[in-house]
Amino acid sequence: MRRALRSFSSWVLALTASAVIVAGLAVVHGQREYTQSLQERDRLVRVRSLATDITHLTLAARLGIEPSYDRLTHATLELGDLLGESDAGWLGAMPSPRRSALMELAKSRIEVVERFKRELAVVRNSQRYLTEALAGARLEARGGAGSAELASVHADVLENLVNFDVRRRDLILDRVRELRAHFDPSGRPLSASYLTHVAFVLEHGALVGELVDEICDPALALAIDSLRTAHEQRREAIVATLGRWQIGLVLVSTLLIATLVHASLALRRSAVEMTRINHGLEETVRRRSAELAQAQKLKSIGVLASGIAHEINTPSQYVGDNLAFLRSAVDDLGRILKSYDALRLAAEKGPIPSELLSEIRATEKELDLEYLVDGMPHACASAIEGMARISKIVRAMKEFSHPGSEDKKPTDIHRAIESTITVAQNEWKYVADLVTEFDEDLGMVPCLAAELNQVVLNIIVNAAQALAEMKAGQDENPKGRIVVRTVAEEGWALISISDDGPGIPAEVQSRVFDPFFTTKAVGAGTGQGLAIAHAVVVDKHGGTLEMESEAGHGTTFRIRLPNPGTRAAGPVPAVAGVSDGANAGHDR
């Protein structure tokens, strides 16, 4: 269930992250579109203002307010740049028919402007010519030469041509026809160039008017405005979409952050949970270890019990035998003493009857008095010695199994070791000779006696078992040898226990102190002995426990306990100093 939940939440995380990326990309795209759209708007605004400028400048040119075409030309060039000849790629986002319609309009508008420029120029020139003729005609009309009426018609025609209005074209044509029917006021025929310019203005003046009308046609402006409206709508759509994506981005980002926060909280929660479980496990391990230590102790006592029973049984048998002897001897002595009592009574009465004496002799002979007198002290001594042996074992047991205390107390290490050796006697005495080499300088050492005893016992029993195993494999073998040695070192008390057994294979040496590690058959060993030894020496006493072993050459365990009572606790002396005399020189 929890795993399912976890995979679900990682899916949520992945989905949210993807959503954030998608929304982010969409926002980037939208913003880019928006920026582009703003540029397009600016261009459309420019195009619109150019269209207006062109109209205004055309009218200004037509009215003669702005005689130079430069500004008009630049406006058409810019419009051409933006719309006319370029592919107007910047309008790419707009619907194609509308775009091409606008481009078509702009292009034709530019052509019309060019046409207007050139037609206006020549019409204006003809008007200039006619203006001069008008001035002459007015002069002649005022001078009264020829028909004044005709002169005024003439002036009227010219005036209308100079200020040409296409709506009065027919009127002007009638007047011109009227003029042509006559001679000119001064009597000269109308000159060919005069008529040419009149005809030119009539024709091209009308054209200029049409071109101006075309340029002022609002179609281009309307097309631009309609495109602008469409563009505005599109930008609004872009903004709306962008807004939606932005909200989406904020939402999915929030969701992502929430998911991350949730995941981090879950992580923290599970870390707390793990710590709690870990504490529980540690507690369990501690309790189990204590239980195991107790179990190990009980087991060793159990193992030892039969040996100890045997040890007690032997002396108690001969104590019993001796006591039985003494009891019969005391009975016999009682009989003899009764005889002696009868003899003393007879002697007090008179002479001692000989039959009484012979009877006493017979009794003494029968009871072998001499044997009794000789044997009784011996039996007593023997019984006492047996009792001593029993009491020694009992005392050792008592000492060994003393419940001990929580605090370290100054302990006679030697006596403690002796007791342990005694208790374990039955374990080693058939397989090994046990030698103790105690350093008399070692006084009382502060320690937890009961637990230290357990350590020494475990090591001795291990050594004995190793020797027994070795002995079982061979037919004839002298007993092995176990040496228990103490050395008073500077600030330390060293207890070394060596055997000349088979040693420990190199590959398992590093694991001998591991809990539950055992080379014995399943069920035969708990794998706790040396682990407990290590815990007791190192953890509880602050000492060191070393093991040195070589296959075929025996094993040595060295227990070092801090012994501040004697001298200040110095550094742990080099192992070599003890195990290898050759390196001792380096210690100096």
Binding site: V20, G24, V27, V28, Q31, R32, T35, E66, P67, S68, Y69, D70, T73, H74, L77, G80, D81, E85, E114, R115, K117, R118, L120, A121, V122, R124, N125, S126, R128, Y129, S193, T196, H197, F200, L249, S253, L256, I257, L260, V261, A263, S264, L267
Partner: protein, 329 residues
């Protein structure tokens, strides 16, 4: 965990803020008006005297402009037909191209082209950049192509170094830009007429001033107007006279008609600028007028419908001679 959170948010912010913004590089080219207060009632303007261009680009353009290796056979440079010291053209009715080939239209001047609205007699090029390919690829002119030019640029270590120092690729685009920029820099300020326009009454001799009056009253200024006295509009050549009698009607000689195909565009040409006009004989699109007097007279007939008197022609010509500016170095 908190740190990771911050990092991821920061990353997201960075990514989403990284919006590409392509800012169009603003052109550094600019002109400064010649007169403090130009007279807007006049159809003409004084030429701006001061201008600013990228000097590296101008120098490269100058070198390209004068390099005959751009042509197919290595004989014709831009400068062969546009001699800067001779008013920006070659003084021939039509120019001589690669292999002695004769062109069909008169070579226009390259001076003051920055103020023209379109290029070629028929206005088919919208910009000087567009114009460059015309003579370069024309079989009767330089008869070259862009592959030829690009390979030349790659072979010439000086070009390689110049393009590299300018940070532009050795592309046709760059060549066009360089030549066009050089051409834009070819401005001839300080003509007597310009000084007159800016208020120096004495700059114009009496005849020239009278010619300027004629120029306006006759209507020349209707078309030869603006900064360049021309170059900002099209006009039909022969408004009152059919030009086909004296001028070729061959395709390529019909002006706008060759571009648009519209009947009303027959013989419609870009109005040429009159600046430095005394240096750019012969005149018209076909170089048919050898002298200024001839050209002015023809213009009177063709465009104004007037047979100009010799006095008027003389006055107009003396005005036209006042349009010669200070030639570029």
């Amino acid at each position: 965990m908190t740190r990771l959170l911050f990092a991821s948010i920061a990353c997201a912010v960075l990514v989403f803020q990284a919006i590409a913004d392509s800012a169009a590089g603003a052109s550094s080219d600019s002109f400064v008006s010649a007169c403090a207060e130009p007279d807007r009632s006049l159809a003409v303007r004084a030429i701006p005297g001061r201008h600013k261009f990228d000097p590296g680009l101008v120098a490269l353009g100058r070198k390209l402009f004068h390099d005959p290796r751009l042509s197919r056979d290595g004989t014709i440079a831009c400068a062969s037909c546009h001699v800067l010291a001779q008013g920006g053209d070659d003084g021939r009715p039509t120019s001589i191209g690669v292999g002695g080939a004769s062109g069909s239209v008169n070579a226009p001047s390259v001076l003051n082209r920055a103020f023209d609205f379109r290029y070629f007699w028929n206005g088919r090029a919208a910009t000087l950049e567009d114009q460059v390919s015309g003579p370069l690829e024309h079989p009767k002119e330089m008869a070259s192509n862009w592959e030829h030019v690009e390979s030349l640029l790659a072979r010439d270590s000086d070009y390689v170094a110049r393009f590299e120092s300018l940070g532009i690729p050795r592309s046709p685009e760059s060549v066009r830009t360089a030549i066009a920029t050089f051409e834009r820099s070819l401005i001839t300020p300080d003509a007597p007429f310009d000084r007159y326009l800016c208020g120096d009454e004495k700059a114009l001799p009496h005849e020239a001033r009278a010619g300027w009056e004629r120029f306006r009253s006759l209507g020349c200024v209707s078309c030869h107007q603006g900064v360049n006295l021309g170059g900002n509009m099209y006009e039909r050549f022969g408004v009152f006279v059919d030009p086909s009698a004296n001028h070729s009607s061959e395709p390529g000689m019909l002006g706008r008609f060759d571009v648009t195909g519209r009947p009303e565009d027959r013989f419609v040409f870009k109005v040429p600028s009159l600046r430095n006009v005394e240096l750019t004989a012969p005149y018209f699109h076909d170089g048919s007028a050898a002298t200024l007097e001839e050209a002015v007279h023809t213009m009177g007939l063709y465009q104004l419908g007037r047979d100009l008197a010799e006095d008027d022609v003389a006055l107009l010509v003396s005005f036209l001679r006042s349009l010669t500016g200070r030639l570029p170095e």
